[in-house]
Symmetry: C2
Subunit: 197 residues, 2 copies
Amino acid sequence: MTPSTATRSRKTQIDRTATALFRARGYAATSMRELATALGLEAGSLYSHIKSKEEILHRVCFGLASDFFASFDQATADASVPVATQLRQAIEAHVRVLTRDGAVSAVFLHEWRHLSEPARTEFLALRDRYEAGFRNLIAQGVASGEMHTPDAAFAALTLLASLNWLPSWYRPDGNLGPDEIAHRLAEQLLQGLEGKK
Amino acid sequence: MTPSTATRSRKTQIDRTATALFRARGYAATSMRELATALGLEAGSLYSHIKSKEEILHRVCFGLASDFFASFDQATADASVPVATQLRQAIEAHVRVLTRDGAVSAVFLHEWRHLSEPARTEFLALRDRYEAGFRNLIAQGVASGEMHTPDAAFAALTLLASLNWLPSWYRPDGNLGPDEIAHRLAEQLLQGLEGKK
DNA sequence: TTTTTTTGCTAACGAGCGTTAGGAAGCATA
DNA sequence: TATGCTTCCTAACGCTCGTTAGCAAAAAAA
């Protein structure tokens, strides 16, 4: 029995409001009563739709993780493309996912540590697997002579760090659109500040 | 009347233990009873040494902010040095401060939002002023032709993002020392992955 | 030795926490 | 009209929170 449209929409609404609060105040500092008030409800009413506070966090974190994997796989599906181009596409794909929903992204990046075991460990394993994708891409690029770095793992961490800072300053109504941001990031990371114009 | 050595050391001990807990569990999710237990005390006893939980956070955040400014000013004091070199030195200085105490750095980077007003706004103003230092350096580099980027502010954010991810993976007993890390980061950020070997 | 400071205890305060139980409306389907 | 589902309520559960008051022992200073 699939849930009716109304149910799913109410649940989704709770998720979205909670995500915004988690981002603004942090997961631990957000109370169910605050969340209920933001939705025009009493605290107890939330539990007609969700099982627990952590369930929301779990859904947000693992949901976006899936998106990242799907996006990465698509960007690097064609092995005949030069590795540097694949990396560029993976960067752009990552930025596109990050900018789609700033609140979800921020919660994904910062609040996952409030997951209790075993979810927390599972999440970290996923993150590690995702990072390995970038690591391998850079290692391939070094092997083929397209890129230069003494340490692919180090470079991958630095690269993702630059990307993952994005949700803390990106505004959907700002000057730069997601595609322009993605392009500039890829350019800066691949060419460097002293690189060719 | 300066506090005696004993007082200062006990207070410092509380700060350090609290900082480690804030890093591991987050500020909001760390209770004074946990902190007390970690120190072998009862919760109430903490208040013989500190005024409030937030006081600890305040000290950590603003203390490290001072360190960053002092370190940056020293790295960029000599205006006769090429701007690219000044930027390199600023990067290395930043990394040195970041790696000095991983727990303090992590709390500084992630827990400041639990400061209540007006401290929170003051903190953000400091951070903005610090970022402006890097922004200006890059803008000067672009003006002098030493660097190339379409947007100095954008480049500065990305640069600091790479640096500030460091506390989440740096281990003092790892393969790379602070100086080696600082050098590699500067190299990667200035030369890029496709830059000259 | 007396005085003061440091350090820590027990006990408790008011408040807020996540969550549950049980009931009652409103609505769609039969 | 009857049934069942969705939605939300009130009231409360046991628990934890940051913090305070008042007292006592130990250490340092006089």
